[in-house]
Amino acid sequence: MAAIYSLFIINKSGGLIFYKDYGSAGRMDTNDSLRLASLWHSMHAISQQLSPTTGCAGIELLQAHTFDLHCFQSLTGTKFFVVCEPGTLHMEALLKVIYELYTDYVLKNPFYEMEMPIRCELFDLNLSQEQKPNP
């Protein structure tokens, strides 16, 4: 998983609830990551409006010249997206794994309040362990 630059989790109203950087150049401050998250939320919604056919669920993959962005939206509207090197494979599977970790260690945490920033030690721990086995 060396090829991943960052991970974002956005709640259903576009607020950033989790952000982790894995070594992208130039630190992004908190305000910038919040702005990017809410911008992505609205881009995702607009892309559904512009669909030529019915049933559009928003952007899944954005390909830029220096990175790829894979996005997964859960049924409840929480969006997970990873920014990775161009052409990185198996990102959909990774997003599903992260979603599972989220359901297990965040949603099942009795002290977690819905739609609020994620501060769960177990989630962080399992997330970092998830990254280690993969080369």
Partner: protein, 177 residues
């Protein structure tokens, strides 16, 4: 002298040859729409081949598309994980400035985007399973140069009404896979 001399197979005049990767008659008709915007956001051309769903009227739809591209451009420029100096979010970017995107995909369509150094934006919307369209957009740009820019009667910044351009475009778009 063509602008994109990199794509050797793109040969205009008089009847353009299709660049590689575009088979003819294999499983064509994958294109949905094409938008061309100039740098001030005027929609020079909107052409659709297959669009069953229309949520907005034409001018609102074009504005929304331009707005989406504008915001996605500033999003990618700010997100760029390889550059240290990324500037501020929301500041208008010159063509070619900052990291740009060339395509995005949803479950129902794929949008391919190209911006020329003069600020002409080409947006092609196709079936989500189609291959990479960067070369196709360069080909369409060459068609635009050949049949629109070189037309002495064309006033820059006005909607394109060239019959020759449209027929060549339709012909080419049918071959996209």
């Amino acid at each position: 002298m063509q602008f994109f001399s990199g794509s050797s197979a793109v040969d205009i005049s008089p009847s353009p040859a299709a660049p590689p990767g575009t088979a003819t008659g294999l499983s064509g008709n994958n294109a949905n729409m094409l938008y061309i915007f100039n740098r001030s956001g005027v929609c020079l051309l909107y052409r659709e081949w297959h669009r069953p769903l229309r949520t907005l009227d034409a001018s609102q739809d074009q504005k929304l598309m331009f707005g989406l591209l504008f915001s996605l451009r500033s999003f990618t420029a700010k997100m760029d994980p390889t550059s240290v100096d990324k500037g501020n979010l929301g500041v208008p970017l010159l063509p070619g400035q900052g990291c740009s995107f060339y395509s995005f995909r949803t479950n129902t369509y794929k949008l391919s985007f190209m911006e020329s150094p003069s600020g002409i934006k080409l947006i092609l919307i196709t079936h989500p399973k189609t291959s990479d369209h960067q070369e196709s957009l360069k080909h369409i740009y060459n068609l635009y140069v050949e049949y629109v820019v070189k037309n002495p009667l064309y006033v820059p910044g006005t909607p394109i009404k060239s019959e020759l351009f449209n027929t060549n475009l339709d012909q080419y778009v049918k071959t996209l896979i």
